[in-house]
Symmetry: C2
Subunit: 95 residues, 2 copies
Amino acid sequence: MPIARIILGMSFAPEDIVGSIAATLTTAAFFPQALKSWKTRDLSGVSLPMYSLFTVGVAMWLVYGIILGSWPIIIANVITLGLASLVLALKVMHK
Amino acid sequence: MPIARIILGMSFAPEDIVGSIAATLTTAAFFPQALKSWKTRDLSGVSLPMYSLFTVGVAMWLVYGIILGSWPIIIANVITLGLASLVLALKVMHK
């Protein structure tokens, strides 16, 4: 077992690398949206049904991670849940 | 093996049920956003960096599904990629 695998406690199979990049991007994506919505309070083009469904869906992904005991899934979805909830709350307040 | 598992070719462990609901919700969420953006052409509150990062991220999830040979992951991400790409294209055209 390579030392990096021991230190980081994670595997580096191709699918793990691709999955990690994918998870990082789809989680990070909500930072600029949350920041824009917070600063501008312009939620006119943002869909309320989208953020309603998405927030519940991400909460389910969090439950999924908890069942599996997977910290990467838990952390990614806690962050996404926080950001999506903020956009949803701003949309509800400013629609 | 229960007959339903043979017919549907999928398992029904708790995490599979929760994961399936989660995937359905986070994919379905982009339908109302894509529809709203298409009909209203109002993209003012929608973040360009969000959809740029998200679209690349979903494409990576698609690659992840292809590497794993997982049809549920492939199908969910093909749909999400199409919808997110549409919102991204509308944002680029109407910003």
